[in-house]
Subunit: 117 residues, 2 copies
Amino acid sequence: MAADRLSVTFSALADPTRRAILARLSTGEVSVGELAEPFHISLPAVTKHLNVLERAGLIARGRNAQWRPCRLQAAPLKAAANWIGEYRRHWEQRFDRLDSFLHALQAKEKKHARKAK
Amino acid sequence: MAADRLSVTFSALADPTRRAILARLSTGEVSVGELAEPFHISLPAVTKHLNVLERAGLIARGRNAQWRPCRLQAAPLKAAANWIGEYRRHWEQRFDRLDSFLHALQAKEKKHARKAK
């Protein structure tokens, strides 16, 4: 179910360590050991996060038993971006309104400043 | 913490009913009762979802005691879109590679077809 894939993706992204892992992988393939280092968390903890990311299809792991490099899989991010993108006009409208309001405020202040002179 | 806000946003989006509620609100303000109707879930269940969305700053509720309309607040979606947008080149690259591959495959097939004639 498409809706469910999105839930799995968003749920996987709802953790700062998992987002940091994806950011690290965006520069290229990395082994699990290398991934664990900068996060100061145990290997089992990293493995847990990697399992969540793998189930969400956000990473793939090499099948080499010695060195199982992780790599980013961006396709689920595209679907998530498409979903959020549907709301773009809402946040743009909001900033447009804020912009108009600030312009009106500035114009008003200039008028008052002229009067005060 | 910026990272934490993102986790709260993604976590709120990780549910199909909550995403459907946001989609409904994207057309304008709606009362809680009206929101509950199309989802065939109880009012308390809808209220629970609305609380999650409100804590995430994705909706705001009117203070009118009789009719507390909900409305969409898109600012957290902008931050989420920005985060995901950083990965755009990854999914575009991937589709570029797939595209090149399909073109190469088509060229090869045409060549074979010509030879077969």
